[in-house]
Assembly symmetry: C2
DNA sequence: CGACACCTTGACCAACGTCAAATCCGGTGG
DNA sequence: CCACCGGATTTGACGTTGGTCAAGGTGTCG
């Protein structure tokens, strides 16, 4: 077993302080599945849940990092801004993912809900003291962070060296694989984020994203049922476009 | 104290199994400074040192991750390749930095020495069992990983949204800050990597890097004493070019 | 002193961005 | 149920940044 073992099944149990973790929608996916009943009970004592409307900001870059969240339902975009407003989306989060892993006292990025959101909130102060007593939780957090780091490195390759077509294909395939991992429908693949969000994630413009999707559609690699639903008609063809040496994710 | 506190002083003591950690050049910088004498002794028992020639490969993407390294002396480049040979350098490591933080059984990237290297090696198997008994070491590893993640996110902004001039300025300022943090000379700033490496790190070509450096030189922001020595004449001017909302690092 | 590797510079080019307009839905109200 | 409104998306024409290709420089090491 490797030192920084990632959680293969990716979500987990967390719900409002009043809500029972037993009813948690993502118990299987994340941290809680790695904990014993006794450990879970201690964790449950410090958590609470929170709902967030689409478009609302969950955390802002630079603000004091008071909480760590686990996404239970919905999707989130993480982003950083340049002074003149240029935006880079650094990632999307789905059920089971952690939000707010920060090393300093302040968040390193902003996060905005792109769907109706349900979050499980851990106050950092309390979590911190608990960490020493729940080594499995800390290990899990380390694994999750290492996971994110690996994803960030793949994204650096994409942003630094891939063409527009390769970027869009990579995005669709990665989204599909993540949805499959969560046990969500992949055909047609739900696309919760806007073209602008996709562009800001891939380092492109909306126009280029749109043109490239059209190109893929004309090549019969995908079918765009609705704006937010894309059918991946030829997965092998798409994977072939990715051109990565490492089969990411 | 935040949950994922990074190590502010950044290097640390590790040396060959025969070598005494007491003589370690970077004792102050990294993990070991956070450990007690007793803990250090246990760590010392499993480590060994290794020298690597410039240009030699330390680890390769996809190969079994048997070791974790700490850089004691020299500089390393980390990179990922696409099938057709396009390369993205995902980071540079200097004394005090960890090499080989991986979550799976395999390394996520390749690493090549760009200078004569001295490494401190931790066999992962042994380190793993030790981790449970040395919580401070695990915490340190988590902090280091979170650090790398933050750097990766800054780099995503650079690769996705910055112009060539902003990229080069960001690179020079970041390199200078890291050197200062290690207590190394910053004036003139040593540039151990080639223009090709810089280009592959910034998502540019060598030609563009070269042209941009010339542009900065003509604007009296820098002076290029030698290929591998750049004087940052106007730090405020350079920082102004970075245009980041977050003062990175 | 010469060879070679690395770097710089120049001329040209293409992928992607910019600006602008048309179109598509999705929601709303009649 | 259908027409309309408005933001998101798509498409088109054109511009620009940075890439490509090709010569020179430069310095390092034997």
């Amino acid at each position: 077993m490797p030192i920084l073992q990632p959680a293969r099944p990716k979500a987990e149990a967390f719900l409002g302080s009043q809500n029972s973790c037993a009813a948690c929608e993502i118990r299987e996916l994340s941290v809680c599945s790695a904990l014993s009943e006794e450990e879970l009970a201690r964790l449950r004592a410090i958590i609470s849940s929170r709902n967030v409307e689409p478009g609302a900001t969950v955390i802002s870059e630079g603000e004091t990092a008071t909480d760590l969240f686990n996404v239970i339902r919905g999707a989130v975009k993480l982003y950083k801004l340049l002074l003149d407003g240029r935006r880079q989306i650094t990632g999307f989060l789905f059920p089971g993912d952690f939000l707010g892993i920060a090393l300093n006292d302040t968040y390193a990025y902003s996060a905005e809900a792109i769907q109706q959101l349900r979050l499980c909130r851990f106050p950092r102060k309390k979590l911190e003291s608990l960490l020493c007593e729940l080594p499995r939780l800390e290990r899990r957090l380390l694994g999750e962070t290492a996971n994110e780091l690996a994803a960030a490195q793949d994204q650096m390759v994409l942003l630094g060296r891939k063409t527009a077509k390769e970027r869009v294909a990579s995005f669709l395939v990665a989204l599909s694989r993540r949805a499959a991992k969560r046990g969500q429908p992949v055909s047609p693949l739900p696309i919760p984020m806007s073209r602008t969000d996709i562009a800001d994630y891939l380092g492109l413009t909306t126009e280029t994203v749109s043109r490239t999707l059209t190109q893929l559609r004309r090549a019969k690699l995908i079918d765009i049922a609705r704006r937010d639903r894309i059918e991946l008609l030829d997965m092998d063809g798409l994977v072939g476009l990715i051109d990565g040496a490492s089969q990411e994710h």
